[in-house]
Symmetry: D2
Subunit: 384 residues, 4 copies
């Protein structure tokens, strides 16, 4: 008779009362009861941090003033946290990762990994020394039908991949909203806090990882065209990136935050020599499968014919919509499984599927190469 | 500075290791941290009940053997539960409601309210005597765009309602699955446990409530045609019901569990004298608004132009899909607000919007009238 | 070496400068060169008729003043017309059919057949005496994917039909447009010219024929609810009709001309015991096929896997949209084939598929029964 | 009282019994009675040409053996043709255009204009000397909702264009079908008959013209990546082309004939600083209009709010699908109007909207630049 496994205690860096992504992390991490918030530094403003802690049920003594204090004191507590979730602006990711990774915590960090490739490579050196979990939350790979697509490509259903297109259009930066005093948008268009990349980093890394994840193919080089369509904007708000794949195939990424009419219309289309696949975030429970001389088929989440890989991360029967929370939660479920297996000395993690430090670094290499290519009028840049 | 409100302790009747709806209730109730499971009778089989309790983190002493024991012992505990969630087969709802309502607990019960109208009326008498919350979980009214539709009708956007169609096709009973030993399906097609109504009760009550909820109109009479298309089946598996509305308009409900290709394709269309609305569960974040001589418009959850009524129950920014868990959770959020306001002596519940005992009884009247009408070759039956 | 077959000369009754349906008939009849307009009475107003004739390239002497004159004089000409197309208001169909049918012409008439069932039965007696073609233009059965659906049902792909739903919502009569001086709408809501049925006749006959055509099943009885939602309107503008099918299955028809947001959203869904089919006029080249435990499939016009029955009436490669003209033209192609085979003494008309006098009379029986049923509060009326 | 205008007599070069595009031209040209076939050279094989002529109702004496004979003899006839439609393989376009243009005929030619840019420029010199019509059939600009998009951009509805994406995926060359003896595919992948460009010429010219037509913006330079994914293929079967627009905006074209699951899925999306537009050939009567902080709107062909520019080329009421034939016919209607106005000495051709010689040459410049850019690893090539 199995007893309930105790949830993994975690702390947060960032994710206070302003902004929405911190709440998404908490809701998703705790959705299926595998994590429980116990500590944190919720804001760089001490008052906001304390207020957030109280609201979130964190006792005041575990609302910390510095990363170092949090790491050392939580380490010392018998009921100390085991994991840290980092949801600060990008330029603060690196330091937090280093401190908590070196101190032996499991670390989960929002994307992009850091504000620069240089920092990403430094971070990787430290993370590589730790046996603990490191996860970067490219959350869209948690959707069951994204997993379905990956599985169908891996099992040869559409043959050799010739081309993969990934688009991620959003429209919220179509005007100069950063000049209207809206804090939510300011740090994302500020190179000091966001890094060199604007849209290409913020959502381009999602698109790039999606391409890599679904196809399983390495990208050898990129040619990019970045634009800042809003005149006063310092960072790019639209990017078109051509990619060459290791197998001779090609990729095409378009990401935009000035595409009016779109909220989070991430989508991909993969064309192989035996068939094709199409998925869009607008209907995340559907996957189109198209094969030579056959009617196009709509595979739905939870349907009998779905692969084990998508069924494994499906929670509700077919026809009951799941969404962003469940997709995000799936990454946290993978993380929890990894952490628990590690703790118990088990090592059969073969099935655990989450984006790690290498994926985080790759994302930054992509951003870096895209920026350089664009500055050099679209010249092809090798990715490695 | 607001501190975290402690979650409301609750117990469950039913919802053990078999079946999925118990898990949906728990996940949804706890999704935003407002409820916490502490006790229960999870199965009529004591071994399964205990195993479920342990798995769910309920201490063995609070896994009870009878409704009465649970009610009295929890009442006696200083940390006793305040609310009960009932997710048993339909024929067991009534007794559980009565015992816990009389004992002063808040009661939340799955639909349909009971297995017969007679029992529903009895239950109502008891529930009416209690100041505590009673909620029946017609969960689909928790979708933000269903609320949007209700708000747009209420504010006159589409004028006077002429016709409202609600459909709920499912396909999982298209063959005699109940004869294959699959427990999941058996009680639903067994009159002893489900009641007189099959599909008309199981999902017809959802459709009827949706019609009532969205239009805000009373139904005066019904004419129904129930079929059992699978020969060996005792209960209906398909129902067409015509309805007359208090304002001279008409309704049309079609529910089916033999509609191959459909999982939970609940949808409604409302036609007014100035415009129309269309919603489908397949894309729950979209609502079509069509007005005379204007382009059809797609209103999306979380968009700037949405009404306060839908924004109030929206958790993620536009473009991040929400689903069944969030819709279900919205009912639990309403319930939590009601319970907390009641506890604090506040009475400004004007905004709280959840289905109560009257809605539960109305559903049973609908089932009862539909069955009688069908047996009488579709003769019109007054609803009241 | 095959020489071009000369087109069949035809005349028109109605279809002058006002109204659009006459033009659709001409364009469709002549789309593939099988018919050629040579004579007519294009309007009851002689001036309009002459003007229309001239515009259409009909010589003035073949613009006639009466049905009788047209019949006798065209009969007498060596180059006289062989066929007549009738597109007048409904109350004038009967007389024209009788005169031209008795005079030995092929007759093609718009739907509904007549303004009353009585007249339809009279007309049938006369038409039955003629070996010539009689076609009533239920044009939507000319769509290739409607033919595909019929073929798939006939070959057992979805098993025994349990339920078939046909809807035809339009919105152009949502307000009292007939009171605004718009001639286009007036005759359709005038019982003297349209007949007893409003929407139930105008588009209800289309829906009923679609149900019959696709399913191949006879309707045994109907229970109807007709409404006139626009207060000043004498005829129905919305109809819900329940139907019993000869095989124990059921039908459900909803037609409306007050459904704001819809233009010609004819659609059907057929549920069998092994699968389902869905078609909508909004995407007429698509047909959804749904089978037990298989992914839903989208069959497209002209695709390799389509049946011969739909390929036979497909003109453009897959992916090049066809529309209403081609669907309508397909009926005329069937008619031309019948006429040519009859003329040549060939009788292998097995493949010719068009709606004839029986279909026209059935439509009127449907209208008649629906009206009676509605007047008797939805009592079931036998159709035969 | 207006009499019927006599149709314009035309001849065809190509378009015999094999291939489908010749038939599309004839059907579309004659759809509304403005053109009539009277002469031609329907095939390079004299027997096929004669057989085709007979089948098409062309008298044998007007089935010619050479372009020169056809031009001189038709010129000499009192009832001679006024216009020529050229639908041969690409490498034969140039000579035919020159001969008939110099001889004073109106010339209508399929796309791409020629097999090489060099030849296109030569042809232009000759065509520029003729006052007669020259049209190249970029047929997709005949769709009403494409015209609607152009009109909305021209009137500022979506503001300044930042980006325009045009895609044209097809799948019929996904395998080496040209090696299976299927004549239909052979010439298109044969550089001798098709020219240097494969897919980039065959459908890339459609996509490029669509971008130009809808946006009204000039393209200053292109960077292209052409692939031949089928190994044995000499010409490209997939092309990604980045474009710079004169106003600082960018373009992105993707065309493919190896995209399994697609037939003719031409589509475009235009992003301006005030709104966006989306159109797809799969639903050609719909146009999405998305504006800042407004619900997305679906504009439909024939709807009251459509612009005069789309209404002008709309033939059927909203909700009755039009398709490829009508779109193609709209170009022929424009051509007929031009020809008739020219003949009558009228010059108010302001509204006539069809693609001419400049558009044809531009298409070839695009193909040429794309090929050169691709050979030079995607280097940017100026278009002029």
């Amino acid at each position: 008779m199995s007893e309930k496994v105790q949830p993994i205690a975690y702390g947060m860096i960032g994710g206070g009362q302003t902004g929405y992504i911190g709440k998404v992390h908490r809701t998703s991490a705790e959705l299926f009861g595998r994590f429980k918030l116990r500590a944190g530094i919720f804001s760089s403003d001490p008052e906001i941090s304390l207020a957030s802690a109280l609201e979130l049920g964190v006792v005041p003594e575990r609302n910390y003033a510095s990363l170092e204090a949090m790491a050392s004191q939580e380490k010392a507590r018998p009921d100390g946290i085991k994991a840290v979730i980092i949801t600060t602006p990008n330029h603060l990711h690196g330091q937090a990762i280093k401190i908590f990774s070196q101190a032996g915590f499991h670390v989960i960090c929002d994307k992009p990994l850091t504000a620069s490739l240089e920092e990403a490579l430094e971070v990787k050196k430290i993370v590589d020394c730790s046996p603990q979990l490191f996860m970067v939350t490219y959350c869209y790979t948690g959707y069951p039908m994204v997993r379905e697509a990956k599985a169908l490509i891996a099992n040869g259903t559409i043959g050799n991949v010739r081309m993969i297109k990934v688009e991620y259009p959003q429209g919220h930066l179509a005007t100069a909203v950063e000049n209207t005093g809206n804090k939510k948008f300011q740090w994302r268009v500020d190179p000091k806090r966001s890094g060199e990349g604007g849209t290409v980093a913020d959502i381009g890394t999602h698109a790039f990882h999606m391409l890599r994840y679904v196809s399983g193919l390495r990208v050898t080089s990129v040619s990019a065209q970045l634009n800042s369509f809003v005149e006063t904007r310092q960072l790019d708000d639209n990017a078109v990136v051509n990619l060459k794949l290791e197998n001779g195939g090609i990729g095409l990424i378009w990401v935009s935050q000035v595409a009016i009419g779109h909220d989070n219309s991430l989508n991909f289309k993969v064309y192989g020599d035996r068939g094709s696949l199409e998925w869009t975030h607008r209907n995340p429970s559907n996957l189109w499968l198209m094969r030579l001389n056959q009617p196009n088929k709509l595979i739905t989440r939870g349907s009998p014919e779905a692969t084990p890989q998508s069924k494994r991360v499906t929670h509700l029967p077919a026809g009951h919509p799941e969404g962003y929370h469940e997709a995000f939660a799936n990454l946290y479920l993978e993380a929890a499984t990894f952490i628990e297996e590690l703790a118990s000395g088990q090592s059969n993690c073969s099935e655990v599927d989450y984006p790690g430090i290498t994926d985080g670094v790759e994302g930054m290499k992509f951003v870096n190469a895209a920026i350089q290519s664009s500055q050099d009028n679209g010249r092809w840049f090798e990715l490695n």
